[in-house]
């Protein structure tokens, strides 16, 4: 008897990276697709991001990195999510990610990496298709 409810997506930038144009565009697209977007902001630590995901009861976490520190910060976030009992939360990554690193990130547990130029509907439909049946 659980009715479908909107997806809750936390979007965040971790580490020393002030480029937030892309993540704001993604935030708008997901909002317009009927999702509840929690914009957690810039310069966050992995700990702060995971705390936000926990308190917001998010279905998805979107991380944006243009700093080159993704091979350090993303695994740290994934590890903290597991330690917090949040392994059910899907993680997507966007930003400047060299092609060689994408398979490594996927292996670690990232659901998908969206690079520059990704059509916004592609992100929306990916989240919809890979969420449980209880979501609108």
């Amino acid at each position: 008897m659980i009715e479908p409810h909107p997806l809750r997506v936390v979007l965040a930038k971790v580490g020393l990276d002030g480029h937030d144009r892309g993540i704001k565009i993604v935030a708008r697209a997901l909002r317009d697709a009927g999702m509840q977007v929690i914009y957690a902001g810039l310069w966050l630590t992995p700990e702060a991001v995971v705390r936000t995901v926990a308190e917001e009861d998010a279905d998805w976490l979107g991380l944006s990195l243009l700093s080159g520190a993704h091979m350090t910060l993303v695994p740290r976030v994934l590890q903290l999510l597991r330690e917090a009992g949040l392994e059910h939360v899907g993680v997507i990554v966007g930003g400047i990610i060299p092609e060689n690193d994408i398979p490594k990130l996927l292996e670690m547990g990232v659901a998908r990496v969206f690079g520059p130029g990704t059509p916004l509907p592609e992100i929306v439909s990916f989240l919809r298709e890979h969420s449980g049946a209880s979501h609108a």
């Binding site: 409810h5 509840q36 705390r51 308190e55 009992g85």
Partner: protein
């Protein structure tokens, strides 16, 4: 499933709290949840607590509600009290989507368990409140938070419904928010318990303070608001001016909520219970309900008569299990 969640809630599991907040915010099994959190199992870690101090912040968009709440979190934590924040942002009436961006301005130490911040999407037409706000407050109170801070969407004029749900309502104003005729309009100034003139480091703060005080004085001279004087003070989150004083005022106000004085509180509870029963019966396709609705839709009975029949149906025995 719900039983496990409630057990975890009583062990003070924050993920369970977060999930229960989601369910209550969606109106899912609210009565069961509130009944469950109210009665901790024997040997549970959560001890019965006193009522929380519930403070709401309203004011137009951009006046600094989130930033001020961020500052007050520091203040409350410095006194060793725990605090939960419900931050409401608007939901699109078109897509149902929302961009919730308040917690960005409320930095918290990542390992501080004494703080819980939750963003809520507020649909239109509810006095700028997220639905089920009263139930969410009860949930956070049961978890043991000493203070609950509520950020409204900040619709501005007429956003007064929140007053009935909280202990203290703070109205935020800032310099250059209009001339003194604005304050004569019915609405916000009438219902605020505390008026905080934010961004007092900007030019024009003295003038707005003078305008607000003059407007309030008109009410006093007419004998209207003498019962509980409204506190007015200038504050600045940037410079820190007045933040401590504001918290002292908020902490000293008598708790208004839950004093069982207003019959409207009881009426609201009754309305919620009827609505919950209706939702369940409708989803289950309950036959008597369907017959009544069909008769009404086809014009066989008048609307007022059908409404009375509906109330009688919802309070009848088969519906009490809901």
């Amino acid at each position: 499933m719900l039983k496990t969640l409630l057990e975890r809630f009583h062990r003070r599991d924050r993920l369970a709290l977060a999930r229960l907040v989601s369910m209550v915010a969606r109106g899912e099994r609210v009565e069961e949840i509130l009944a469950g959190v109210g009665e901790p199992a024997s040997g549970a870690a959560s001890a019965p607590r006193g009522p929380a101090r519930v403070i709401a912040f309203t004011g137009s968009g951009g006046v600094g509600k989130s930033t001020l709440i961020g500052k007050l979190i520091e203040q409350v934590r410095a006194e060793g009290q725990s605090v939960a924040v419900l931050a409401c942002d608007p939901q699109s009436p078109l897509s149902g989507g929302a961009l919730l961006g308040d917690r960005f301005r409320m930095p918290v130490r990542p390992d501080d368990e004494g703080v819980f911040i939750r963003s809520l999407a507020a649909a239109g037409g509810h006095g700028a409140l997220a639905e089920h706000l009263a139930d969410l407050i009860r949930l956070l109170e049961a978890f043991g938070f000493d203070v609950v801070l509520i950020e409204t969407v900040g619709a501005g004029q007429g956003d007064t419904e929140v007053r009935e749900l909280v202990d203290v309502l703070v109205l935020l104003l800032q310099p250059e928010t209009g001339d003194d005729l604005q304050w004569e309009k019915a609405g916000l100034l009438e219902v605020a318990d505390v008026i905080a003139l934010h961004k007092a480091d900007l030019p024009g703060a003295e003038r707005i303070e003078a305008q607000v005080r003059a407007t309030l004085a008109l009410g006093v001279s007419a004998g209207l608001s003498a019962a509980s004087p409204v506190a007015v003070l200038r504050i600045s989150s940037r410079s820190g001016e007045g933040i401590k004083e504001l918290w002292q005022i908020l902490a000293a106000r008598p708790l208004r909520r839950g004093r069982r004085t207003s019959g409207r509180d009881l009426l609201r509870l009754a309305q919620q219970m009827l609505a919950a029963r209706f939702a369940v019966a409708e989803a289950a396709g309950q036959s008597e309900l369907q017959q009544l609705l069909a008769a009404w839709q086809q014009g066989e009975i008048a609307s007022t008569q059908a409404a009375l029949a509906l109330v009688n149906l919802l309070i009848s025995a088969p519906f009490q299990q809901v």
